[in-house]
Point group: C2
Chain length 339, copies 2
């Protein structure tokens, strides 16, 4: 039970007084400058532990002139963002990057409307641009190093690391077509996201180019969530002419579709092929290993930190832009159509 009382915060001066040295010397032992007399150093150490003294990090930064060592990670706070494999992988990558670069990681879950309270941050990483374009613009305006993930914001003067989602959608479609499918359905991602729109675009174009017709009844507008996927699956399966394959814009959705299929006695991949997007390890378990399109989320997050960190530290300048290629991962959930 800690004793109470208004304990005034102790500072380097108190320590210096108690050790009977100057504050400079205390500062030296704090910073492990080797040229301090052993005995004096010991005395200082004692005083430090006596007072449980912890240097004021703010004052240190100001004196050292080190501008903020924190990176802000801004994520649109729409419900469910956290529950997506996408956001979580990004976080892990960013967390890891910050750990290795010794940067602090500050989270900002935002509605996108209020201007970010971002004064603490030396750099900003945006998880995507959804309704928060103005925040990105603010960052650009006041010169804060910023990078946008998973959204090739070519119209803004900002760095980004994105994935070629058009290609991703095309890869899925091509694979399904190559297997011989003609009746191919899709559940899209959230169409507010560039990724969602582009995956669908690549998918649809590829179908057209291959001369595979795309019925509107094979289209379901989703939002990456399992819930939507279930609804979509139920609708697809009830069709007079059900699809023989479906492309889901996230693995979570693909997995849910498999569940619905099994519940209805529809066999995967014999009766229906399912391909996902993400390469979520959850796809490895379950009844059949999921065929999917992989995107390197963790690596993106990690690289984002490196880029922004380097700009913050003045090692780099200018815009950094990179578009990564997604990759087909063939497992067990797709096969040629039987009907």
């Amino acid at each position: 039970m800690g004793m109470n009382g208004i304990t005034k915060r102790i500072s380097i001066t108190d320590v210096a007084r108690r050790a009977d040295v100057s504050i400079t010397t205390v500062s030296r032992v704090l910073n492990k400058v080797p040229t301090v007399n052993k005995e004096i150093a010991a005395r200082v150490e004692d005083a430090i532990t006596f007072y449980k003294f912890k240097p004021n990090a703010t004052a240190q930064r100001l004196a050292r002139g080190t501008l903020s060592t924190a990176i802000g990670f801004v994520i649109p706070g729409f419900p469910g963002i956290f529950h997506s494999f996408y956001a979580v992988e990004l976080m892990r990558g960013i967390g890891h990057g910050c750990e290795t670069m010794r940067l602090d990681l500050v989270f900002h879950i935002t509605d996108g409307l209020n201007p970010l309270r971002s004064s603490y941050a030396g750099g900003l990483i945006f998880a995507d641009i959804i309704e928060n374009r103005s925040q990105v613009e603010d960052a650009i305006a006041d010169g804060t190093p910023a990078l946008v993930l998973n959204h090739a914001a070519g119209d803004l003067d900002v760095s980004y690391i994105a994935v070629d989602n058009v290609k991703g959608g095309a890869i899925a479609a091509e694979y399904l077509i190559s297997l011989g499918h003609k009746r191919i359905a899709t559940v899209t991602g959230n169409m507010q996201t560039q990724a969602g729109r582009e995956r669908f675009e690549g998918f649809q174009k590829t179908l057209m180019n291959a001369g595979v017709s795309f019925e509107t009844e094979y289209f379901y507008k989703g939002d990456y969530s399992r819930r939507c996927a279930r609804l979509a699956a139920e609708r697809f399966f009830a069709l007079d002419n059900p699809p023989t394959a479906v492309f889901a814009a996230s693995d979570d959705m693909a997995l849910e579709i498999i569940s619905v299929a099994m519940e209805s006695g529809i066999k995967v991949p014999e009766d229906i092929s399912i391909i996902g997007f993400d390469d979520n390890p959850a796809g490895l378990f379950g009844p059949i290993a999921l065929t999917t399109v992989k995107q390197p989320l963790f690596a993106m997050g990690e690289e984002a930190v490196k880029v922004v960190g380097d700009i913050m530290q003045g090692k780099t300048q200018g815009l950094f832009r990179k578009v990564l290629s997604p990759e087909l991962i063939v497992r067990e959930s797709c096969a040629p159509p039987s009907s």
Copy 2:
């Protein structure tokens, strides 16, 4: 294409010079002190936008004497932590709490071994204590306001908000017993966590007290993940004398067990009852709504911020300890045994 060149960081002095006023006046308009002459204020504003001046947050803090306004959230970095509904709900609650208290949220994903680089933080919230007990002890030692979530750390001089997990396990067992089940299995959570151990303890004790025998073949040591749950389910279902009910220490696991059951043609709840833990909304979708034991994760996170924030701001002192009660949520996945 930004012009390059070593642009020296501009400070309040530059702005003052350009607006031809004292830095105090600039400071005033920065802080929206109302007593500034309109015209002068406008001149200052101009200078500010001209230079794209942003006050140095570090210097502001030092001058204002406001100790850190950041709360650190420390989560053990074991693989999969992020993928659990548990961690994610906590995060949401904490994120929300910080937003309303206007505190910054700094994440620390830690292996538990290295002493936290936590100088930035005015307070710390620990997601649990797993292998990072020493970090909690450090915080206590240097007087950083700290709170542990989901772990009643009575042996440490620290605040906590926990859930009565013994009771949670008991609630699940009681319900199953009341339905008439005699062959009840369980997949536990990670036994490194207090929650995992206590849930099992409450479950087992209740069975014993009710005179329901508990076979070791009905026990599977899990880790909250779907993967373990699948393995457990496969083992349970293959038993000569399979259980008629199973208690899973997380909804994720419960959901996976339902999947395995359906794949094997076992009907839920007719052939087997399943009860989970968490009240994960995912349990609402899927083929049958999941019966579960609810714990108020979001609220815990939110309250934790309030507690730590108040201590940081000197509004409160002393230890705060609270144990919340879990609650039975009856839905469709449990029924009396048929055999």
